[in-house]
Structure formats: structure tokens, C-alpha cells
Amino acid sequence: MNKIFLIIRREYLTRVKKRSFIVMTILGPLLMAAIVIVPVYIATMSNEVKTVSVIDETGFFYGKFKDSEAVKFHYLVTDVGSAKATFTKSGDYALLYIPKTELTLPTTAILYSKSQVNINVKSYVKNVMTKQVEELKLEAKIRDLKISEDAKLTTDDILRSIKASVNISTIKIGEEGKEEKSYPEVSMVLALFSGILIYFFIFMFGAQVMRGVIEEKTNRIIEVIVSSVKPFQLMMGKITGIGLVGLTQFLLWVLFTGAIVIGVTSSFSTKVKSADMTQQLITQQKQGPNAMQLQNASDSTNVEREQSNEVISAIESIDFTVMIGMFIFFFLFGYLLYAALFAAVGSAVDSEADTQQFMLPLTVPLILSIVMAQYVIQEPQGPIAFWFSIIPFTSPVIMMIRIPFGVPYFQVILSMVLLVAGFLGATWMAAKIYRTGILMYGKKVSYKELWKWLKYKN
């Protein structure tokens, strides 16, 4: 409809052009990038020495895991069963098991631990294995090159062809040898982060809808507008316009954050990686006298590279398409549900100071979901997590927290359906209150009064 489009456009453009929007769009990604990067760096600062036992059935990685100040590796030559038994009694931090592979290069490993595996240990193991596998591939490649004498291959082609991905699963072993899959800390950080982001977005943009309604009421422009369009059109236009502003902001944040994180990490890693890979390539091709020297030089960059790779691998382990898709859905419908109610509250009052009494039923479920977040993280499949992620008022936040841990499909779908239903119900109700409220001035409205408005025919 043409008129509702006009309203959406106005609501959208006036907000996007505001200085506060531009500032938020720039500050947000800096903040988010900091949230992603800082915890990893803080974690690297831990100075407790961790011992990791390694069972390498493939034999490819012997001596490749270098001891550092924080982690010591020692190699075992037993079978996994007995190693696990001794591991539970030992003071070792973790047990790395690289199973034997036939024909292919090893790309999987299991990290057993007593508690949550430190993300640094995990990503270090992953990096070393990846590097080793890539070197193995490189050797094979060079062997091939020598045979075919095909000099046309560029360095980039070679780098691409040897790219490997190693998958490390982490398993927690209890005192009695009970095994349970553990969740990496990244999921937890990501869960909380996206939950809080949804909470924040709903509050921020919901409150903008409310303020917009109050503005129209106190400006007294409302009567001019409702003589041209239906109140429902105005309400939906406003909600949609502001929702699009939120979406725009979110997408810009994702884009900028991505750019910042990639920018920061690539300044360490990609350059170094390709540089030292090419160096190795050159070294091994020439087999020159300076080979050892070059090798050392590339080793010295390893420290830097590993740090930044930790960040990358932590991020790489997340399925971003699903996360962003889910985020957009739960943000949009969570927002729509709350925005309609915020609009109703805005219509019922004369100034922002009067909103208090009606805000309570809106803020309680939102704050409750943030309070519940910690329980949900501890037990992402438990009954608390289930129920709060199903009920429409708390589901946007709680479901976002659960998703990084994996949620059964039927639960996600049920939650989505109920959220959409909740949105329709809330909008229907809000429209009735809004219609009466926007033309009501100078009257202290009570809940009883709102109830009456709900029952008005027109």
C-alpha cells in the first residue's frame, strides 16, 4: 500500500540520517570486535603450566607440538583405553588423541580433558596439526611438481591446493571415567553475546517506537495524520520503518565487525602465513645453503601467527550463516512482538515520564530472560532452557543463547511458530489500544481503562 510505504520511508530515513545512528554504527563494530578479540588475549595471559599428553597413532606429529610457557606436551606410546584410565588419575591437563588414518592425511583429533578445554590449547593443537598437514601436502605437491616440471603454477595456486582443515572434538572425562561432549568456550561467549544483543536491540528499537508514538502525540501531529491514514497503518508503518533501521544497523555492524576482525587478524596471519609458506617453498625448491636460516626466521613469526590464528579458529568454528539467519529471525519477530506493545504503551500516555507503570510487564520478561541466560548456558537442553525458548516473550533471547549449542529442529520450529503467533496477537491487541490512545489527552490511564479500550468496537 502506497501510504504505508510513505510512512515507512519517513520513519526510516529520518532515523538513518540522525547523527546518533551514524555514531552507533561506527562505535558498535569497534566494541564488538573488542569483545571478540579481547577475551582471547586475556586467556592467553594465564600463566598456569598445563600438561598435555599426546597419543599420535599416525606418527606424523611426533615432536611437532612445542612446549611453551603455558603448555607442555609429552608423548605417550600406549593405547587410548589405558591412557584415558591413567589420565583421569594424573594431574595432566588434557589428553590429545590423534587416531590412525588409512590412505588419507589425518584431519581429526580428540581432546580429552577433565574440565572445559582452554580455547588456546585447543587452537594451538589445531594450528600445529593444520600446519603439519599442510606441510605434508606441500611436500607431496613439490614431488608432483618435480615430476611434471609444470612451472606455470603460481604460489597462490599452490597455497590454495594445500589448504587443510583439521577438526578437533573435545570430550570431558569425569572422575569415574564418564565421558561427555564438552562445549567450547566460543559457543558460550557467542551465546551470551547474541542473547544480549537481541535483548539490547529489542529494548533500543522498541523504545524508539514508543518514543516515536509519544512524539507524535505530544507534537499534536497525530490528528493531522490519522485524518489521512488509518491508525493501524501509521502504527505498522512506524514499527516496520524502525525495524528496518535496526536491521540496517545490525547488518552494517556485521559487515564492519567482520572487516575489523579480518583486518586485524590478516595483518598478523595471512601475510605471515603466505610469506613463510612461500619462503619454505623457495627453500625446499632451491635446497640452498641458507635453508636452515630461513626456516628459523619463519619459526620466529610463529608466536605472532599462533596468537592471531587462535582468534581466527575460534571464529571459524561457528556456523555464521545459521547464526546470522537465526539472529535476524528472532530479532525481527522478537522486535515486532515487543514494538507493537511499546507502541500501545506510547499511545496510552502523554509523556515519557508516565510510561513507567505500563513498561513493567514489558521489561520483566526481557530482563528475566537475561537473568535466566546463565542457567540456560549451563544446561542448554534442560527444561528451563526449553520452556523459556518456547514462550514468545522470552524466546528471542533464550533461543539465541541456545542455538550455538545446537537445538533440535522441532524445538526451533515450534519456537518460531509461537513467536510469530505471539507477534500477531500482540499487534492485534496493540492496534486496539493505540487507536483509542493516540487521541486521548490529559487523562491518567489505568490498566482498567486499557481493558476498556480493547473492547471498543471502533
Partner: protein
């Protein structure tokens, strides 16, 4: 022909009856005054005409057809409680509101520049509304109301907030619109402007219509056969020579002149009065005292004698 008709409109809010069986006829091309004290139900009625509210019962007709949702493009409404988006630029906002009324961007732009030129406010186009004075905002608002050239215009207290110069400008525009064929419903407390502008009126009090019709007809029914006579060359009391049927309400010297308000008996004419007075005084003027709309308003609403009520209720 009546452009707009409302038949037996009733509207009740929870426990308060805002309109009780109100019927009005607005002749095409006329200015119709909708009068009444505060809280009488005028605004509710206007909102019903604008389809902002729906009546509980009753019917509304525009140009002979029942009022339909699409008719809002033929109605222009200037509410009493009016305002604009403060942070928006004047031109941008005028365009937006004009388009909401159904004008295309191109038409809106063309007509707005005509009106902005006419009102000499072209330089405001890129200024924010909050930078304008209240009177300036009212001008913009007036333009927005008439920009889509509606058949029916509804002005609710259009002159509030204007200085006398702009009131005049506005009055001229309203008369101009009438000349171009628009029909205007005009709601106000300002009885002077009613006398000046309105052809017919309806008076609503306490949710009910208590008086309606042609302004001149109403005045005629409310006049009391009272005349004001000015004369000279007399000292003393006019009662001394007038027959008792001629009731002297007031008399006073004014400079060298004398003035008296005299109510003549039913059936008598001004000529009779003059005839009685001629032998005694030198008459300078005789005027019939026609009740002002203000008097009629107060008399019908309060049931009081206008002479005593006027001073107390200057601004009802």
C-alpha cells in the same frame, strides 16, 4: 444542494454520551459554523466526519453518497490540536503530509511551491519546524490542510495562535476558497469571526444540537424589537413623553448627544417610535439592535439574559 449531511449521529464513550442524535446539513459552497461550548461534542463530531472515529449510530453523506473511506481525500482537516514534526524540515514535511493525502510527489511539489510563494514563506523550505514561530507553523499547517484541494474543509479554531495580520490573511483565503467552490465547516468560539464568515450555523451543547439555521434567520428570531436612538436638543427623561408601551432600557448623554435604548411594543414599527419622539427631540440616528452571535450563543447555552451575561463570559 447539501454537500454534507449527518443524520442522527450518536456516539458514546464508555459512560459518557458525547453526541446525542445530532443531525446537520451543510449547503454546498457555504461556510458552516459549528458552535458550542467546550466539551459539547464538537471535536467528536468533527472526528467522526473525518472517519477518525466511527459513530455508534447515524449516517453520514458526502455529495449525496454515504461517506466511504476513500472520501478522506476529499476532506481537508485542520485540527484544533495541531502540530508538526519538530525535527523535520518544513518542505520535506509538507511533501510527506501532502502525499499522505494521496497527491503524487510531482503534484505535491508543484502545488506547495505555489502556496509557499503566495504566503511568502518560500525561504522556510529547508528550515526545521522547531526553528519557526507558532504563527509560522500555523501557516504551514494551513497550506497542508488545503493542498489537496478538498471539496470539504474542516477548520477547528483556525485563528488561534495567529496575529491580527495573519488572521486577516487567513480569512481572505477562506473566503477565496469558498469562492472557488469549497464547502467549509468552521468550528470556533470566536463569535466575531462567525458573524463575519458563516452563512449557516449549528449550535451544539451538552452533546445535543440546540440551534441551527441561517445566521440572518437566527438573528431575526432572537431580536427583541429594541432600537438605539441618538438625538440632541433635549434635557431630561425620554420616559416623560413616551407612551408606557415603549420601554426605555437605558439612556445617557454622550458628549452633546443623547442615546437611549428603547424596546417598542409588539406590532409597533420604528416609524411609530420616531413619530413619538419627533416633537420633543432632534433625531440623529435610529438603529435596530440586532443580537450578536455572541449574545445568542450565551443566551441559548446558559439561558441567561445576554446583557448581564456578556461581561462575565467574554471568552466562553
Amino acid at each position: 444542494m447539501d454537500l454534507f449531511i449527518a443524520k442522527n449521529v450518536t456516539k458514546t464513550f464508555s459512560n459518557h454520551r458525547a453526541l446525542d442524535n445530532v443531525s446537520i446539513h451543510v449547503p454546498e459552497g457555504s461556510i458552516f459554523g459549528l458552535l458550542g461550548p467546550n466539551g459539547a461534542g464538537k471535536t467528536t463530531f468533527i472526528r467522526i466526519v473525518n472517519r477518525i472515529l466511527a459513530p455508534d449510530s447515524g449516517e453520514l453523506f458526502l455529495m449525496g453518497r454515504p461517506l466511504s473511506p476513500s472520501d478522506i481525500s476529499m476532506i481537508g482537516y485542520l485540527p484544533e490540536e495541531r502540530g508538526l514534526y519538530k525535527k523535520m524540515k518544513v518542505g520535506e514535511q509538507a511533501l510527506y503530509l501532502a502525499q499522505l493525502k494521496g497527491l503524487s510527489h510531482h503534484d505535491a511539489q508543484k502545488r506547495l511551491s505555489y502556496w509557499f510563494e503566495k504566503f511568502e514563506i518560500k525561504t522556510w523550505w529547508n528550515r526545521k519546524v522547531e526553528e519557526l514561530s507558532k504563527g509560522m507553523q500555523q501557516k504551514v499547517q494551513f497550506i497542508i490542510t488545503i493542498i489537496h484541494e478538498p471539496k470539504l474543509l474542516i477548520f477547528d479554531e483556525p485563528f488561534s495562535g495567529f496575529d491580527p495580520i495573519n488572521v486577516n490573511l487567513l480569512k481572505e483565503e477562506i473566503l477565496e476558497l469558498k469562492k472557488k467552490g469549497a464547502t467549509i465547516i468552521f468550528s470556533t468560539h470566536n463569535m466575531e469571526s462567525v458573524e463575519e464568515l458563516c452563512d449557516t450555523i449549528a449550535l451544539i451543547d451538552n452533546s445535543k444540537k440546540i440551534l441551527d439555521g441561517n445566521v440572518w434567520e437566527i438573528k431575526k428570531t432572537y431580536k427583541t424589537n429594541t432600537f438605539e436612538v441618538q438625538f440632541t436638543k433635549f434635557e431630561g427623561d425620554t420616559r416623560s413623553f413616551l407612551p408606557t408601551a415603549f420601554e426605555v432600557l437605558e439612556q445617557s448623554p454622550e458628549n452633546e448627544h443623547f442615546k437611549a435604548k428603547i424596546r417598542i411594543p409588539a406590532g409597533a414599527t420604528p416609524n411609530d417610535l420616531i413619530r413619538e419622539m419627533l416633537p420633543h427631540v432632534m433625531i440623529q440616528s435610529v438603529n435596530e439592535i440586532i443580537p450578536s452571535m455572541n449574545d445568542i450563543f450565551i443566551r441559548t447555552v446558559t439561558g441567561q439574559n445576554p446583557d448581564t451575561a456578556t461581561s462575565r463570559n467574554e471568552h466562553p
